[in-house]
């Protein structure tokens, strides 16, 4: 236990385990890059700040705007990246964005079977399950079973379209706007849109919120 005292007891916050193989590799590569002046410590810290500033709230704003503004929706479906940039959401890397619209005939699901490609500029870091092998393998081989485990049951007459993100293209699912939201403001709509709905594992419903 720690020696300090600030009113409540807790275990010491710290790393007691030895660093793993990849931890050591990361440290060694980082130190080499800095030592050889290929990267500065500031650049690494800055990039962490860039990543930390991206959250699903950005994607939710994009979705809500597409629901209320048909012209924006058309531009978003034509070029996801430039439409997001219109809203001030910058793309700090060379990725393109394809926005996949869920309709009465198509339900979209996104995955990266090779690693963890994800629309980070608009959603931030992916959830752990998205990066783990069970989801990555099963999303492309038995997507309906995976969806059912998330509580999403897609009728057979609706196509399940799985997009495997392995190149420099990222995907964002544009979910269907839930019924009964005609009088919602853009902000109220955005509050309904969750990260999982933009991955395509669940629909947006009035009961859901971020």
């Amino acid at each position: 236990m720690s020696q300090h005292d600030h009113g409540h007891p807790h275990a010491e916050i710290g790393h007691s385990e030895r660093p793993g193989y990849y931890d050591i590799m990361e440290t060694a590569v980082r130190e080499l890059l800095i030592e050889r002046r290929l990267l500065g410590a500031d650049e690494i810290r800055r990039q962490i700040e860039v990543l930390d500033s991206r959250t699903p709230a950005l994607g939710a704003k994009v979705v809500a705007r597409a629901w209320v503004d048909p012209a924006f929706r058309a531009r978003l479906l034509a070029n996801g990246r430039t439409a997001c940039e219109e809203l001030g959401i910058t793309f700090y890397d060379d990725t393109q964005l394809i926005v996949l619209e869920n309709t009465d005939t198509v339900h979209n699901l996104i995955v990266c079977t090779l690693c963890s490609c994800y629309p980070r500029p608009v959603l931030g870091l992916p959830p752990d399950w998205y990066k783990l092998k069970p989801y990555r393998a099963r999303a492309v081989s038995e997507p309906r079973v995976v969806l059912a485990e998330f509580g999403t049951h897609i009728p057979d007459n609706i196509e399940v379209r799985v997009s495997d993100s392995t190149a420099f293209v990222r995907y964002l699912v544009l979910p269907k706007r839930p019924d009964g939201t005609d009088d919602y403001s853009e902000e109220q709509l955005a509050a309904l849109v969750t990260r999982d709905a933009m991955i395509g594992v669940i629909p947006v419903s009035i009961g859901s919120s971020q």
């Binding site: 090779l114 997507p143 309906r144 057979d156 196509e159 799985v162 997009s163 392995t166 190149a167 293209v169």
Partner: protein
């Protein structure tokens, strides 16, 4: 411009005729120049990979090969056939070449292809409508 008497009217008329003549000559010259440019544009020779080899609707097969190094075509898709759904712009670096530091001249297109799930997984349990979409680099595709 006002025309108060016959002399002015005649001068104005001649001015207009001469202006029309000049204008026609200019337009004609412009047309000749522009059609010459059009011809030059039609005869432009593009660099390798600059123009996509496949178009939307083309049927393609993902090649079966296992190169040494870094590549991004999942094994479950090798040898599968699909239809080009979209040509991805702009052209992109061939990451297999890039991994070895060979960047120049290796830009080509990625193609978003649609592959039916039932053709990938013989025992696929979902709807026959279900399909997979993925971007595959030009060097991995062959026309069928």
């Amino acid at each position: 411009m006002g025309c108060r008497n016959g002399g002015d009217a005649r001068a104005t008329f001649l001015a207009i005729v001469s202006f029309k003549g000049e204008r026609d000559a200019i337009l004609k010259a412009r047309f000749e120049v522009s059609s010459q440019i059009e011809k030059q544009i039609r005869e432009i020779v593009t660099a390798t990979g600059e123009v996509p080899s496949f178009g939307v609707g083309d049927r393609v097969r993902v090649m079966t090969r296992s190169p040494v190094g870094h590549y991004r075509v999942p094994t479950y898709l090798r040898g599968r056939t699909g239809v080009v759904d979209a040509v991805i712009e702009p052209v992109a670096m061939d990451n297999e070449e890039e991994a070895y530091g060979r960047n120049a001249g290796s830009r080509r297109h990625y193609y978003r292809i649609a592959v039916p799930m039932t053709s990938i997984w013989p025992d696929y349990a979902g709807s026959p409508r279900d399909d997979l979409r993925i971007e595959v680099f030009e060097t991995w595709l062959e026309r069928i």
